[in-house]
Symmetry: C2
Subunit: 428 residues, 2 copies
Amino acid sequence: MRKFVIKGNICYSKSINELCITQDGYVVCEDGICTGVYKKLPEHYEILPFYDYTDKIIIPGFTDLHIHAPQYPFRGFGMDLELIGWLNAHTFPEEAKYSDIEYAQNAYSIFTTDLLNSATTRACVFGTIHIPATILLMEKLDNAGIKAYVGKVNMDRNSPEYLCEKNAEQAFKDTEQWIKDSARFENVKPILTPRFIPACSDSLMEKLSVLQKKYQLPVQSHLSENTEEIQWVKELCPGTAFYGEAYNKYGLFGNGFPAIMAHCIHSNEDEINLIKEQNVFVAHCPESNTNLSSGIAPIRAYLNLGINTGLGTDIAAGSSLSVFKAMAMAIQCSKLRWRLQDQSLAPLGIKEVFYMATKGGGKFFGKTGSFEKGYEFDAVIIDDSTIKHPYKLNTMERLERLVYLAEDKNIVAKFVNGKKLFERTVSN
Amino acid sequence: MRKFVIKGNICYSKSINELCITQDGYVVCEDGICTGVYKKLPEHYEILPFYDYTDKIIIPGFTDLHIHAPQYPFRGFGMDLELIGWLNAHTFPEEAKYSDIEYAQNAYSIFTTDLLNSATTRACVFGTIHIPATILLMEKLDNAGIKAYVGKVNMDRNSPEYLCEKNAEQAFKDTEQWIKDSARFENVKPILTPRFIPACSDSLMEKLSVLQKKYQLPVQSHLSENTEEIQWVKELCPGTAFYGEAYNKYGLFGNGFPAIMAHCIHSNEDEINLIKEQNVFVAHCPESNTNLSSGIAPIRAYLNLGINTGLGTDIAAGSSLSVFKAMAMAIQCSKLRWRLQDQSLAPLGIKEVFYMATKGGGKFFGKTGSFEKGYEFDAVIIDDSTIKHPYKLNTMERLERLVYLAEDKNIVAKFVNGKKLFERTVSN
């Protein structure tokens, strides 16, 4: 079990600038771990079970570094507002529904099925403030075999009464209970999830810091997404020089614990330095940042600085949970940023976005997102035969084309940590 | 024949600001013409054949105002260049292949099938310089029942030897022959298609002007797409104050004939005034303009001025022939333009892009793109049941969601001028 060989056109990143392609190659999985990619299969592997995906494209699974599961129902509509207005008009009313476990059951089933059918193998997921619904979400993802960090959201101020924790003390108790309840999952782990500074009181942040140390938990939140939001944080936290400090003063900005900050569009130099210094992951969410008119993050600069950077779909400010789409939009937004804002940062290309979608974001889960030796064996098999073509393309052309044109139906098999989650055929 | 009633959730634009929705409504077709939308079907129509699309979304078909059929094979790859480099590296070598009629047969079959399966009912299409391949393309579109203007491309300078007309005299003869040959089609009509000013000599433009008057033909071309291109036109046409004048001085910029100019990103005030004055149609191609790092056209300004504006997918600088995707990107690009470039122009919303995709671009074909009385009956039936949802959405929410999430499989029937092109079911 979990020892096998697969054959096909294998694509993976070694680094930001190194996209490796082995046409008609072999990749070997032993006990859920990748032992290497071979142009010719070493003889001692010939006895292993063999999956023949000849002519298909094989990539490591994608990591979605930032996605709000409860917002999935309203993806694609209500797109006429900026962040704060959008939260109040669409997000908070929808998230409130998850106090109803039956609603959550239905909605999270749809979300989990669609995520399973996508090319995503790992995800960092926001839930809501509700414990039962969040545990349910974790259970569904766990059963589906998707590796995920899932967060019960914390928010105790500047939030509508119907979606607000009573006070920091209660939030602390509830969150600790939820952490304990979520210990039973195999694939899914808890992650501390203060919504964002405007919605989290100082005492709440202090308490989350206690929980972080006690349970050794990673953290995820939002940072410098919208200019109005940044201004608000400045007013709420007069003692901080920039937004990131409002997390950092409670140790919730790296400080030895893994941390993801979504967006980082308008981060100033000091904030960027702190992100780098604290090994914080930047979750770049280009479609969300476009749909909410937030702006375009300087991702090329982050990559140049060696900052950990991955992609997020940010459902439902992003409309699609396809990381392929996030890759395409990361390239597209970087081009518009170059044209309209700053010609010192060259646009991103396929190599950079493929790296971010796989090894870059995957790093948050350890050694994942590559077929290099020692990496967890996550693989997505893509049959692109539905995208008709008058002549034979090379693998690189096919891979680039998939970034723009892949649909979920093209995903014909998915493995996570050596376990096959599904296999199917594409109908032409 | 061509007399029937369809029932469903009917959506159409009356104007840029007026998107009409009739839930569980009826739309009646008589002899290919729409006679109106009804909440309750008038009694005298009850005898007509009836298509029951209850719960489905019914929209007028989309007009794609700018698409290059021969570029369809390389959609989605080679996306790392700007206009001129991209033309030389990818476009010209691909277009040269259409001198081979067998290649054209294969490639144009794929293109036509995919266009048929999309929500597009009408299109303004570039071919190549080759007459047999262009006639073949017209034949395929005609047989498919898609209404189209198709242009044999003219280019006689600054083009690679393998893709260049011998001289203006030969181009004139060939083009006239092609115009005569294409008279036999029912759904497809010829349109004069000088590639763009850099590729067309003064004498070629003069001759096209003669053909335009002789055969009363519309014209399509490119305008002010890329700053480098604009500079080049300035050098090539020292007597013109702006790019558009280089068409206008030969009468190929409206002047009583329908004209489409794709892009118009960097048009100055004089050029915009001339576009308006000459009733030139602007084909806004947001994905193309993004992929080639060209910039973002000020579409809100064009709409405010009453300029005829529609959408183009601009395959293959655009990766997808889905006009839904063009609509989404038109909204998205307008938001980034607002954020990064000019806060005096509010972002576009669903109403504006739906108008452009239907009635706005459809106007190039006469009274098409709406279900108002007297409009040609083009309709696309959409089954969005594959996009699962935990509660019932209203039609407006479903329509907006489709802009971001529709796939071709959701298009379950298509009518053009009252003729049904196909009907199928969506598999969930």
